[in-house]
Every structure is written in C-alpha cells, then in structure tokens.
C-alpha cells in the first residue's frame, strides 16, 4: 500500500480545478493546493479576510506584512487582484459566487454532512472561523483529509459523531488513500492509491463504498 503524500493529495486536487474557477482554500492542508496550480492556468484564489486574486507566499526578503491570508500567513497579490472588506468578502462566499471551497475535516458522512470545527461538545475553546459560511455558501465543497484517524478509526462515516459544520455539503473527498465523490448513492470511489484494493479501502471506511456508476 502506497498512500498519497500530502503534496500528492494537493497536486491531485489542484489538477481537478479548471481554469477560471474562483476558489477558497481552507487553512492548513488545503492551503497547499495553490502551489500545484500552474500560474498559466488562471485560477483565482479567495481569502476570507478580503483578498480575491491571492498569489503565492512572498520571497523572504520581500514580505508585505499588510497582506495575510485566512491562516495569517503573508501572501502576495496577483495582477487582477482586488481587496474588499469582510462583509463584501463573505458576500462572495455566502452568495454562492465561489466555484469551489476546499476544507479539512474531522469527519464526512455519506450524505455529505461535514464536521470540521470542533472535536467535542465540551471543547476547551471552540472556534469556527469561516467554515460554516464556506460549507453552506460555496458552489461546491471538497474535503482534504487523512482517510482515518491516527489510531485507525474511519473519518468517512455513516453519520458524523462530532458537531456538524454543515448538512449535505461535501461533494468530493481527497484522502491519503483515495478520491471519493459524494453522490446521491453515498460514497463513490473515483481513484485509489497504488496498492489499495477496494476491499482494503472499504475496511478503513465507516460507510458503504460504491464503485463509480
């Protein structure tokens, strides 16, 4: 079994983003996706804090500290970028103007429910950020996450155990073991990592997997 590495997951997802899409990448793992979209394929990246047309991280000797992304990392602007305030920025998200949002998650259910903001109802400090707005508002939501927890429990489940972020929102999941669509039938396997059999994948998944129709 040769699972996809984080870079490979990001590259795979990036390859599925067509030119012209407006895309919000969640903090953490999803942020890496931008590095794998070649500059000549124009994809416009959005950041919740009011940037449309975000470019890559700046070289260390040319950092503009007035520009941060949602993860508070310094970024750059591409030609064609625009800066707006928070209500206008979330207008893009909540008004359904973004083609794609990519988020990390703790769990995704076979009906598309996503849990990604807090691991327990008694969390010391719950924090949601823009996740609920993005999950409810973007035209499509893709998730990037490890297929199982560190101790081997499935993250793709029949029904989320953790507090939900949004109902029936996820359309596709990129894990270290597979790429899986969420369709009306439930989880549909699009691709598996080298040496991962359908049966081995099912074993590591908490809900029924379907072969593509």
């Amino acid at each position: 079994m040769k699972p996809f590495g984080r870079a490979e997951m990001a590259a795979k997802l990036a390859a599925d983003i067509p030119e012209g899409w407006y895309v919000n990448l969640g903090i953490g793992l999803p942020t890496l996706v931008a590095d794998y979209v070649p500059a000549e394929r124009e994809v416009v990246f959005h950041s919740e804090n009011g940037i449309l047309g975000m470019g890559p991280a700046p070289p260390e000797d040319a950092v503009d500290t007035w520009l941060v992304n949602a993860g508070k990392e310094n970024v750059t602007l591409r030609a064609g970028a625009s800066l707006v305030h928070h209500a206008d920025s979330f207008m893009m998200i909540r008004g359904g103007h973004l083609d794609l949002c990519v988020l990390g998650a703790y769990e995704v259910a076979a009906n598309g429910d996503i849990a990604n903001w807090t691991t327990s109802l008694n969390d010391a400090v719950p924090a949601v950020g823009g996740a609920m707005d993005l999950a409810a508002g973007a035209k499509r939501l893709w998730v990037m996450m490890e297929h199982t927890t560190k101790d081997g429990r499935p993250r793709l489940v029949e029904r989320c155990a953790y507090p939900l972020t949004a109902l029936a929102a996820v359309k596709r999941i990129y894990t270290n073991l597979a790429v899986i669509d969420v369709s009306a039938r439930g989880f549909e396997v699009r691709q598996v990592a080298d040496g991962v059999s359908f049966e081995a994948l099912q074993e590591r998944t908490g809900a029924k997997l379907h072969r593509p129709a």
């Binding site: 804090n49 991280a57 928070h86 010391a124 400090v125 719950p126 950020g129 609920m132 707005d133 949004a166």
Partner: protein, 239 residues
C-alpha cells in the same frame, strides 16, 4: 469646521462606559487598533463585551492584555483559538464566549450599520450554533434568523484619514474595520496618516466620515510578519 481629530488618547476614548459592547477591527495582526486597545486599558472601562474575529496572539499587547487585566466579561468571536490568555480565562470560567460563524459575524455587524434588525441565513443550519435560533424555510433553503449586532463603541485602524473622518485602509488591513465603523454609536479611529481635507480621492474613500466620531493620529508602523507557511515538500515548479 467639522474636525474629528483628537489630540490625545484620553480624548479619543473619553466617555466609554463600563458594560459597553466594543467592536474591535483586525484580522490576525493586520488592521488591529492595538494602540486604542491599550488606551482602553488605561481608560479603565470594565465589564466589556468585546466583538472581534480573533482573541489575539501576543499576550503583551492589545486584546489579550485587555482580557488578562480582567476588563472583558464576554467575547463574541469566530476564531478564539490561538490565544493563551483567552484559553486560560475561558477554562477558568472567567470569561463568556459566543462563537459566531465569521460571515454571520460580518453580516450581523453590517446589518447593525444598515438598519436591518434581523435576517435569514443558511449558514449554521443543523449545527450546534443554530440551537435556540428560529429556523425557517425561505428562498428555497432552510435558514436561521440572525440579529443585528449593534455596539456602543467601534475601535478601528485606518491607513489614511481626514478631519471629516473619511478613511482608507491598507492591504488586508481593511477586513472588519469598515463594517464595524458603521455599526457603533461611537467610532474611534487610529490612523497611520492624517491627510488634508480633499486629499483623499472621493472614489477611493472606503469609510465615509458619516460613520466616524473621532480620529487619533497613531503612526503605528507595519504589522509584524504573519505565521509561517506549513512545512511540506514543495514541488520544483511553483506557481
């Protein structure tokens, strides 16, 4: 002559009462009115309800210090994680927390400024944050009712300001600042630069002066560098 410039921090923050609801702009370290927050500590108002996107990072300045010295009764916030000060106060039960989705937070503040007392939104439906809220099917989707978040005070950081209170911002320092400026009874601005009236292009003004009460010149400098990018093997050909 309309002149909203004030000469001192004391003048800028005069009259802020105990128990006030205070909006604080900024996202990460960018656009945070730290001088005004430090001034507010000096000013002494307590029992405050603070509305801010983050709970702050550096314990020595700004919002975390305000909380550390016990002036905040409650924090209304989308992402309070990452602040050791808030963490400890919250675990010790010494501060209340209202977690609000970031877009709903921005929209609730905007609604207060726009005279919209309440609106429906699909954000949060079916989640813990919808508990106790009216739910309704409207516009083809399940929605919850959210209320305007009106405040007594807004603390704002601007890049340029004139004596009428017209403001511009720099880079991602815009964030919540223009939205909050319109939603408070008293809007106090710390501005990096003060311009002559008429120097700001009317097309480029982001916050018209009608929303601003007082402007203090604070040549605060640039924000500190942001977080480091997550470490990962990078491909040869970066974009």
């Amino acid at each position: 002559m309309i002149d909203k410039r004030v000469a001192s921090m004391a003048e800028a923050l005069a009259g802020i009462a105990d128990g006030s609801t205070v909006l604080i702009g900024g996202f990460g370290a960018v656009g945070q009115p730290n001088a005004l927050i430090d001034g507010l500590i000096e000013q002494g108002a307590k029992d405050l309800v603070i509305v801010a996107n983050n709970a702050g990072m550096d314990a020595k300045i700004g919002l975390p210090r305000l909380m550390a010295v016990g002036r905040a009764r409650k924090l209304v916030c989308s992402f309070p994680r990452g602040s050791t000060v808030f963490d400890e106060l919250y675990k010790a039960g010494r501060i209340e927390l209202e977690v609000v989705p970031q877009g709903t937070l921005a929209e609730r503040i905007r609604a207060a400024g726009a005279g919209i007392p309440a609106f429906y939104t699909p954000t949060g439906v079916g989640t813990k944050l919808a508990e106790g809220k009216e739910q309704r099917h409207v516009g083809g989707r399940d929605c919850i009712l959210e209320h305007a978040l009106k405040a007594d005070v807004a603390l704002v950081e601007a890049w340029r300001a004139d004596r009428w209170g017209n403001l511009t911002y720099k880079g991602s320092g815009r964030n919540f600042n223009p939205v909050m400026a319109a939603a408070a009874t008293l809007t106090v601005v710390q501005s990096q630069h003060i311009d002559e009236l008429g120097a700001l292009d009317p097309e480029a003004v982001v916050t018209p002066g009608v929303f601003v009460s007082r402007v203090l010149h604070v040549p605060y400098g640039d924000p500190p560098p942001g977080n480091r990018r997550a470490e990962v093997a990078r491909p040869e050909a970066k974009r």
